[in-house]
């Protein structure tokens, strides 16, 4: 920057930072060796010395906050959160992975198993199968609770490989049958003095889950096509699996997402005009084709940034010496590209809404604890 006398410096517009400070505050600069300016300057009085107010006014947040949905399907979605801080975006990600409840198989009652797979390994595998049901329709079950239709889902697996068939058969997850009336295995504890009463089973369903309107036309299923075990001729497996509600915090089988992640929006800026040979070199260097060549006229080719969003920040374009002054790689600190992959229990947009609700509930419980 050329030297200007102190008295001739232009006046700063009120409440706006000078451009170099604005860059430090809103962008992570990704240099060749390491990123810089990575912390978020959240303190309200950080720029008090220059007279700039850094506090977040809720109405300003409401004005600037945007959500853009890029991709939405039954299983995954990609959307942009613009104008939010990293701590809150991270809170949503953490809640999505570990604190949104789901149903998963917890207890397995094995009546007969002559497979080569041990019982506990079988139970572990069954636990990891996603159960495609809305967990909000069920309650949690604690140690002292009786398993009933409000907190348990019962599945049955009854598979025998005939000795005559001579070939191995695979047991898939879609062989698990839903039992809307509850467990079929009778408790062997007491000899009932009243022979006409129904024998007590491992669960006490007072009514069939089938009668609930949500399940009458959609039977509860699990994700099909998952191999549970393989049986050789003569082997059989007969078991009952009880699914309960839980959180991913306790065990990963209760996590409703395959995974959820976010990245900050990359920004690629050409600091100088890159022409002709250099432009071609730049376009060839980038493995994801961020740059493009445009014809400026008079046979001069210039490089432009066509797809900055696709940039993976591999830094190939600034690796060689001399290129760092020509290309600036940055990340926008408050623009997050969120991707959520659901396992099937709830659609991804419902999952995100639930995660935000859970953060609200946490705040509320802190408020009530303090009052």
């Amino acid at each position: 920057m050329p030297k200007v006398s102190l008295w001739d410096l232009p006046d700063l517009p009120q409440n706006q930072l000078p451009p170099h400070l604005q860059l430090q505050k809103t962008r992570v600069v990704c240099n060749n060796d390491a990123p810089t300016h990575t912390e978020n300057i959240t303190y309200s009085g950080a720029y008090a010395a220059i007279g700039v107010d850094n506090s977040l006014r809720l109405d300003e947040f409401r004005k600037n906050f945007k959500v853009k949905v890029i991709k939405l399907s039954e299983e995954d979605m990609e959307f942009d959160l613009i104008g939010i801080d990293a701590s809150i975006a991270n809170a949503f990600r953490r809640i999505l992975i570990s604190e949104v409840p789901t149903m998963a198989i917890e207890k397995v009652l094995v009546a007969n198993s002559s497979t080569v797979v041990q019982d506990e390994v079988l139970a572990h595998r069954l636990g990891l199968i996603p159960v495609k049901v809305d967990p909000r329709l069920f309650d949690y079950m604690s140690e002292n609770d009786v398993p009933n239709e409000k907190n348990t889902i019962v599945f049955k697996l009854d598979f025998k490989c005939e000795r005559k068939s001579g070939e191995r058969r695979t047991v898939y997850s879609h062989d698990l049958k839903w039992l809307p009336f509850g467990s079929e295995y009778v408790l062997s504890t007491e000899n009932s003095s009243d022979p006409t009463s129904k024998p007590k089973t491992y669960t006490s369903f007072t009514s069939s889950q089938d009668s609930l309107p949500e399940f009458s036309n959609n039977p509860i299923t699990v994700t099909p096509g998952i191999i549970i075990t393989k049986l050789a001729p003569g082997q059989e497996v007969e078991l009952e699996a009880h699914a309960v509600k839980g959180l991913g915090k306790t065990h990963a089988k209760w996590s409703p997402v395959a995974t959820a992640w976010y990245r900050m929006l990359p920004e690629v800026v050409l600091l100088q005009d890159i022409e002709d040979e250099d432009a071609q070199k730049l376009v060839n260097k980038c493995p994801v084709n961020v740059f493009d060549i445009e014809d400026v006229g008079k046979g001069v080719k210039r490089a432009t940034v066509a797809r900055p969003r696709a940039c993976t920040l591999c830094r190939e374009c600034i690796r060689e010496p001399g290129w760092e002054e020509k290309v600036a790689l940055r990340r926008v600190k408050d623009h997050f590209i969120f991707t959520i992959e659901s396992t099937g229990a709830l659609p991804p947009e419902v999952l995100f809404t639930e995660a935000v609700k859970i953060l609200e509930d946490k705040c509320e419980s802190v408020i009530t604890e303090l009052s």
Binding site: T42, S55, L56, L72, V356, L359, L370
Partner: protein
Amino acid sequence: MEHGSYQDQSASTFSLADEDHTLANSLRFALNQDPRVAVCGYSIPHPSEALVNIRVQTTGDPAKEVLKDSCQDLMMICQHVRSTFDQAVADFKNIRGSESQ
């Protein structure tokens, strides 16, 4: 649980049980944005124990009130995020529905 002094209400440490970085970092952000706060931070004494200590020092107001207000702010942020997100998803589905027709 609040650890502070009866004489000086403007500085105290709040111990939250069953919490971790999820809530603590977001609360720290909301607290920092409040102009009444001089210093705020959080620490987790041991990772195996679900306990978070949030320290709030204000410019005069009682720390408990400032923390409650920041929780309120965080709740308003969440509500706004939720409504904007629902709106965006509804718009996207509408656009996709009208395109396929």
